[in-house]
């Protein structure tokens, strides 16, 4: 495995790790690791350091929806231009071009059902190129970004074994 892959593997799970610790885990020189990290950021391979939050455990209301969108691709622009019009809305957290039964998957985060509904009816559906939408609300997140949200790891092993 390349050093690059190793760095990415570690910080994908723990973005708060500092360079020193990263270099210890990898058994690599600290300066080399720092340089590689910088390069990964400069090249846009590392695009940000976010925090995973299970909002459902707070008293802050968040509503997430997945919206399947069918669109008419535009000549010369394909899907990119319409995708851009959609992703510029700050409430849109992700936009993917999809294979299969629809074209764009739009993931939305709103404060309420109403807010999401009005985004779809007022903004998304009214775009010229949008043919149809199907909105799915997320009821419960079991696992997100490879992390199980519903259960905590519990060490059930014997405390000492030889």
């Amino acid at each position: 495995m390349s050093k690059r892959e190793e760095i990415l593997g570690i910080i994908e799970k723990n973005s708060r790790i500092d360079v020193h610790e990263l270099s210890v885990l990898m058994g690599a020189d600290e300066i080399l690791v720092a340089n590689e990290l910088k390069a990964l950021e400069d090249e846009g391979v590392i695009c940000g350091y976010h925090t995973m939050i299970d909002w459902s455990k707070t008293d802050i209301e968040k509503v997430n929806a997945l919206i399947e969108v069918k669109v008419t691709p535009q000549r010369g622009l394909g899907f990119d231009s319409i995708a851009e019009r959609i992703y510029k809305y700050p409430e849109v957290t992700s936009v993917y071009l999809m294979s299969g039964g629809f074209d764009l998957m739009v993931i939305l985060e709103g404060k309420s059902l109403h807010e999401v509904a009005s985004f779809v009816s007022d903004k998304l559906s009214t775009l010229d190129t949008v043919l149809s939408t199907a909105t799915h609300f997320i009821l419960k997140k079991y696992k997100d970004h490879g992390t199980i949200l519903t259960k905590k790891y519990e060490d059930t092993r014997e405390i000492v074994s030889l």
Partner: protein, 385 residues
């Protein structure tokens, strides 16, 4: 009433550190770096295969030697990792963990008074199994200056006319030591010259961090005189499934299977189906776990260095074996005090033989967060000493 206990069993000492274990069990809220099993769950696809086999009603005995499909996968595995070909029918059989295979191999091969060379520190079962088989265990004390590897000289010093078997416990629990190709070459010469058999316990064979594990069976002339023991517990995080295997010359396998047949019947059927999946599709899981172990290994080594605790660099298993001689306490005292004062459990080196005195076994089958919390406690502790 007559004494109900047989003399042979009675002479087997219970683990020397039983007192320590009793204290461990009484201590509530302790952080432990004391286990000898992976912290990972068995990969889901392997568990799923076990569940599926139950759903399909595969709840009967398998043949004494185990599922043919599994033995074939074991054969393929050894071929692709060591380049050695074992006949799945005649030269491989499935056991209840590697431990059963150790017991059977000794019982099948020795007569009363035959000597078995057992390098220590090492796993706790070799010596009692030798005694139960009426053999004489002869201990070879491994040395830190040799990175706890076994040397030909050490073997030669202990070989007598009665020596029949050499136990080769590498990668090693508790030291984490490995034997590389060059180290084995020397051992092979002695083994052949002295006409010994080898029980090679390679249960940690997938967990090496400086290149691939080399088995002694890959040397010319050694397949004929080696019982290769391995299993699924450590590599695939399957300790509770109780599944291992033994490979070796047909003549010896036949005798081992005979004992196995009468004592055990066959290894658990569900586990065998799950293990087929492990060998077929488990390489990526092993790789993932090994990467994690390696990161933790490096972390611990750097911590011991920072704390000024001497620790040789181990390249196998999931243990480090730091030296605590400078604190002028026995291993057991050190561990008991550490447990009482900081509620941190590690295992005294003496649990693995007298020559483990002056060392502690620290397991890194724990998450990094857990290791960090433990190192904070250890640091507080040794700063007070």
């Amino acid at each position: 009433m007559r004494n109900p206990i047989g003399k042979k069993v009675a002479q087997i000492k219970p683990s020397g550190i039983r007192k320590f274990f009793d204290i461990v069990l009484e201590t509530e809220g302790a952080i432990s770096l004391g286990v000898g099993e992976p912290d990972f769950d068995t990969p889901w696809h392997i568990r799923d295969e076990g569940i599926y086999s139950l759903e399909k009603g595969r709840t009967f005995y398998t043949s004494n030697s185990g599922l043919k499909e599994l033995r074939t996968e074991v054969s393929n595995y050894i071929k692709r990792t060591q380049g050695v070909v074992y006949d799945p029918i005649k030269e491989i059989f499935i056991t209840v963990g590697g431990s059963e295979a150790i017991d059977l191999a000794m019982r099948a091969m020795v007569d009363e008074g035959d000597e078995i060379l057992i390098p220590q520190p090492s796993y706790v079962s070799y010596e009692p199994c030798a005694i139960l088989a009426d053999a004489v265990p002869v201990i070879i004390e491994l040395k830190e200056e040799n990175q706890f590897r076994l040397t030909a000289q050490e073997v030669l010093e202990k070989v007598t006319d009665r020596t029949k078997i050499l136990v080769l416990p590498f990668p090693n629990n508790p030291t984490g030591a490995i034997m590389e190709k060059e180290d084995l070459e020397e051992i092979v010469k002695v083994v052949i010259e002295k006409d010994l058999y080898v029980i090679s316990d390679e249960i940690y064979g997938e967990l090496t961090y400086s290149g691939r594990h080399v088995s002694i069976v890959s040397f010319p002339g050694m397949k004929e005189r080696t019982i290769l023991i391995n299993g699924f517990s450590k590599a695939y995080a399957m300790t509770g499934w109780r599944l291992g295997y033994a490979c070796g010359p047909q003549q010896i396998m036949e005798q081992m299977v005979k004992i196995h047949q009468y004592a055990i019947m066959c290894a658990p059927t569900t586990s065998q189906y799950a293990a087929v999946e492990a060998l077929k599709n488990g390489d990526d899981d092993v790789k993932m776990m090994k990467e994690q172990y390696n990161q933790r290994r490096r972390y611990l080594l750097s911590e011991f260095k920072r704390l000024g605790m001497p620790c040789f660099e181990p390249y196998g298993a999931f243990y480090v074996f730091p030296c605590i001689k400078k604190y002028a306490m026995s291993s057991e005292e050190f561990c008991t005090k550490l447990l009482k004062e900081e509620k941190l459990a590690v295992v005294p080196g003496t649990a693995f033989g007298d020559c483990g005195e002056g060392y502690i076994r620290v397991s890194y089958a724990y998450s990094l967060e857990n290791l960090k919390a433990a190192m904070e406690r250890l640091e507080r502790f040794i700063n007070r000493l």
